[in-house]
Symmetry: D2
Subunit: 138 residues, 4 copies
């Protein structure tokens, strides 16, 4: 399993007239969380695209428990429970500064070869980086 945490601060423009973060913005928060998770193991999504691999989201689920508010400093935990194959599943947990769980979610992303526009396997370089996190510890 690979987990990572990132923090972000709620922007004014991300709130709506309920006085809380607009629910649609969590897709963006999850994007930031998984991007920063990968950066922590020296993978940038930018370099993936520069190498001809893009990772569109094919499924998104969000469960809203408590609202996030303007200027809240959120902590988002990204959890990769299974080794990437042609797809990768990431789970998310969003916490506020009082350590309350505000939201959970999950995205499934697939690896797509930008030349052929077809689904492809996770690049070997990424496999090599992920493998130590998924080795049997028994």
């Amino acid at each position: 399993m690979f987990t990572a945490q990132t923090q972000l601060r709620v922007r004014y423009g991300e709130t709506d007239q309920m006085g809380v973060v607009y629910h649609g913005n969590y897709a963006l928060y999850f994007e930031i969380a998984r991007t920063e998770a990968l950066r922590q193991i020296d993978v940038t999504y930018r370099s993936l695209e520069e190498n001809g691999i893009m990772m569109p989201v094919v499924n998104l689920t969000v469960n809203y428990k408590k609202p996030a508010k303007y200027d809240d400093l959120l902590t988002i935990k990204s959890i990769f429970k299974v080794m990437p194959t042609v797809k990768t599943i990431v789970e998310y947990e969003v916490y506020n500064e009082a350590d309350e769980l505000l939201c959970t979610g999950q995205t499934t992303l697939v690896f797509v070869d930008m030349k052929t526009n077809k689904v492809t396997r996770c690049p070997q370089k990424l496999i090599d980086i992920f493998t130590p996190f998924f080795e049997d510890r028994s």
Copy 2:
């Protein structure tokens, strides 16, 4: 069952550098679809809030099948399969002009009394409007 259709055109600012609609924007598209569905039966979400009822989204699911592109005129079908209670579930289907199914999704919204900030039952006025769509046709 109550179903309704609405159309919207993809804005430039809603695309991302993959050249398609940013996946996070479908939450906004679904919001428009259900708002316009309700407007077709003379219910405005604005009037609900003015009467002290808000409807936060507690769950969102999106399944992405094909990308929507800039300037596409999308048709979004909203499907209310069950009578609202303290919550309402809406399903969505997004089609492009070639009638291809691009995306499906679902949201669960709860009725919240804005004074007490507690979950409440669907307002009677709304029940009365919805009832004819859910009557036994046997």
Copy 3:
């Protein structure tokens, strides 16, 4: 002079916790207004890009007078006062249903050849379409 009007309805996700449209969203509203203005004379921005011309915004000005609110049906007037050259200037006026002027603004866009990434002249096809609106009426 070429002027055109388009309407759009304020989305929930476009409001912020002040209970009004987030000020940053007017750039998006102006984009819609000029796109629809062009569509009214049978020009689509999509087709311009498909023909290798893009039109990045190089200057944006917005003057906020009164707030737009959720679910407001806005009317946006786009005004092209001068013939496009290598650039085009569009002015905007945003009105609500009570015909109050909420906001004015202006954008300057340049024509860019997508192959060379250099500024280029307004395509002849567009010149031909615009010319009748700017002919001397004296």
Copy 4:
């Protein structure tokens, strides 16, 4: 004069199909820049609103020079050249990691009493904090 710098990383959802940051997003970037500038002198915009003062933007100007790209780490300089009165003017300069000036801009914000919804003077607490930056150095 009071100046401050803040950094932010371009999100995928902030790009458009030109492959660069959507021009409308700079309003959001400026909002972050001035908020973080104020935080550096121990003023949070959140606390202003909690004390009944909001600061709507009444004018926004943006000059786009070069595009910002996905994953760019931007540095935004906020410049307060004059003491706040009933309004405050903030200028912005956006730089990328190569220290190229991508964009400049300006916002004018007014202080509004949230109870009366009228323009009001800059709160004394803020005046006290700002004063040392604007004292005559002659």
